[in-house]
């Protein structure tokens, strides 16, 4: 299968005053199309940092990151924004829906930034909401939806641009057990339809839903044994 993400010797350091703090050490990671990868690690392990780098929200200090063959290091702010828009679909722990916009408008948002015409935008957003099972809640505001429904709106928003990777950061972190497992079922279904998913989590049980798991601990990434 084709390789869509390739990280070579990625290091990331932050400066705390004068002190340099390296949070990622020499990370190597290859992801192929159609994979469902879990990055499993406790808090403070550097998993947020690696998610930010994968999502092009942050750039590595050293090393090479190829996303769909493009070297991220060569891109400026605007080009990075375009890459995020096209290649990455973000799903956040706390949903991050805009409270003043309806579910439909929230899903339309990424399409606005890729200049999709209004009529097509509406059509695609509706289709995506139907796909996640929210065809009857399109005009509801986020606060009129349950947590599970909100996360499904967020997933629809992440998928509406047909991104290369669905990047989820603790997608079940704010949900109860039952709705959490419903979201995981949705992920599994999306993956079986061919969607590449990378999920960051600290929860062993959630990570198990993936087809492949890597562990991250103190900034070192290791391949987990196949379960």
């Amino acid at each position: 299968m084709s390789e869509i993400l390739n990280m070579k010797n990625i290091c990331k350091s932050y400066y705390m005053g004068d002190e340099e703090l390296e949070v990622l050490h020499d990370v190597n990671l290859v992801v192929h199309a159609g994979e469902f990868l879990s990055i499993l690690g406790p808090s403070g392990s550097g998993k947020s940092t690696i998610m930010n780098i994968i999502g092009c929200l942050d750039i590595p200090s050293t090393g090479e990151y190829l996303l769909s063959g493009t070297d991220i290091d060569d891109l400026d702010e605007s080009e990075l924004a375009a890459v995020r828009n096209k290649e990455i679909g973000f799903v956040f722990q706390s949903f991050q829906l805009l409270p003043r916009l309806s579910a439909l408008k929230n899903v339309e948002l990424p399409l606005i930034y890729s200049n999709v015409p209004v009529s097509e935008r509406k059509k695609r957003a509706k289709e995506m909401l139907e796909k996640v099972g929210l065809s009857d809640k399109m005009n509801n505001l986020p606060n009129q939806l349950s947590g599970g429904q909100q996360q499904r709106v967020a997933i629809a928003r992440a998928l509406v641009t047909e991104p290369t990777i669905l990047l989820a950061d603790e997608p079940t972190g704010a949900l109860d057990q039952k709705t959490g497992s419903q979201v995981m079922e949705l992920f599994e279904k999306l993956n079986s339809d061919g969607r590449t998913i990378i999920m960051i989590t600290h929860d062993q049980n959630i990570a198990k839903h993936a087809t492949r798991v890597v562990n991250i601990l103190d900034g070192y990434l290791t391949e987990a044994e196949v379960n």
Binding site: G55, L57, N85, F92, Q96, L109, P110, Y113
Partner: protein, 391 residues
């Protein structure tokens, strides 16, 4: 398309914070309203005063002779030479004296009696209310005819038609041939209390030997300056090169300098009012900064979803322009209403020029751009990771 989306998003945000948006706009509203009101009122006043000055004649040059001991004023030959100069349409001398008049046994003391010629009445036909004006025959034959002002009609001939009646001026009997229309408002020589007789008659009977004032009417006012020079070159040798003995005054110059003065005054007032616009602009900047802090997370999310820094900047600048433009339009309406009320109260004309409207709209959008730029730039530079993390 891109712009339209940004406008829609900005509009939604302004509507969402109605009260705060309104209070922020208030600074701009007050600033623009005061600029519009001041400019319009000053403009109206300038127009009204200019019109009244014009009514005295923009197309004429006034020659005033103070005289020298040897030559106390203008004589007939001076007037004739001037009237034959290039670009001269006609001359109207004025001789003025004060004396008593008697009619029907009623006496009015200390009345201004002016000697004029036919040109004076031909140039402004609205001067005459009833009867006929002084004509060339009256001038040539020193006819003892008089035209009387409105107040004199009311005092001496109340309820009667004075035309054809006799009037004693300085002991001589004159026939009244007409009455003057009431002159209103600001006028340097109100004719309501005046009696006008042919100037040739006046020279003979009023005891005045020289013409002291001469109105020179021009064919083409655009070369008035040349005519002023011509007249001076006639008068200079006539008064033995004593330049203090006479003055040549161009009414057009007076209006020009008056309008320049009023223009400067309106600029000054608008400048003072513009300070409130700056204060309003700072208010907008302040609100934009607060709004950006509040919406840090939203900005972070939008960036994560693919909004470029330019896009974020555009959205916030549009929001700021919106705020100040709406404020500017409200201010324009408010200022116009104020100016309209003031115009009615003061009794001056009201005219709202396109220039003023353009000024209000232009100024307020400029304020939006200038004071929105910094906050918008700040928003566009937010790091999406930090922005998303902030709660």
């Amino acid at each position: 398309m891109l712009l339209l989306e940004s406008i829609r998003m900005s509009w939604e945000n302004i509507i969402h914070n109605k009260l705060r948006s309104f209070l922020t706009m208030l600074g701009i509203v007050i600033g623009v309203a005061s600029i519009i009101a001041l400019i319009t009122i000053v403009q109206g006043a300038t127009n009204s005063i200019s019109d009244q000055i014009s009514a005295l004649g923009v197309n004429k040059i006034t020659v005033t002779a103070m005289g020298t001991p040897l030559k106390q004023g203008l004589n007939d030959s001076d007037i004739k030479v001037i009237s034959q100069l290039n670009n001269i349409d006609g001359v109207s001398p004025t001789i003025s004296g004060r004396t008593s008049i008697i009619s029907n046994g009623k006496v009015m003391e200390d009345i201004t009696v002016q000697g004029k010629n036919e040109v004076y009445f031909n140039k402004d036909t609205s001067l005459l209310k009833t009867g006929r004006s002084i004509n060339i025959i009256d001038i040539r034959s020193d006819n003892q005819v008089a035209i009387i002002g409105d107040n004199i009609v009311k005092t001496l001939y109340y309820g009667m038609n004075p035309v054809g009646k006799n009037l004693m001026i300085n002991g001589t009997t004159y026939t009244i041939i007409g009455t003057l229309a009431q002159s209103s408002g600001f006028s340097m020589n109100s004719s309501n209390d005046a009696v006008i007789i042919p100037y040739t008659t006046a020279l003979r009977s009023l005891g005045v030997k020289n013409v002291t004032t001469l109105d020179v009417y021009l064919k083409d006012t655009s070369i008035a300056d040349d005519s002023v020079t011509d007249i001076k070159s006639v008068l200079n040798p006539a008064f033995n090169y004593d330049e203090d003995a006479y003055s040549v005054f161009n009414m057009g110059d007076m209006i020009k300098s008056f309008e320049t003065m009023m223009g400067m005054m309106s600029l000054l007032l608008a400048g003072i009012a513009a300070i409130s616009l700056v204060v309003g602009g700072i208010g907008i900047m302040n609100m934009m900064l607060v709004s950006i802090t509040e919406r840090t997370k939203e900005i972070g999310l939008r960036k994560a979803l693919g909004a470029t820094p330019g896009r974020i900047q555009l959205q916030f600048i549009i929001e700021s322009i919106f705020l100040s433009l709406i404020g500017g339009i409200i201010g324009l309406i408010l200022g116009s209403i104020l100016a309209f009320i003031a115009a009615i109260l003061i009794g001056i004309g009201f005219s709202l020029s396109m220039m003023t409207i353009a000024l209000a709209v232009g100024f307020s959008s400029a304020v939006g751009i200038v004071f929105g730029y910094m906050p918008a730039r700040k928003a566009s530079r937010l790091n999406p990771i930090d922005a998303l993390r902030s709660l």
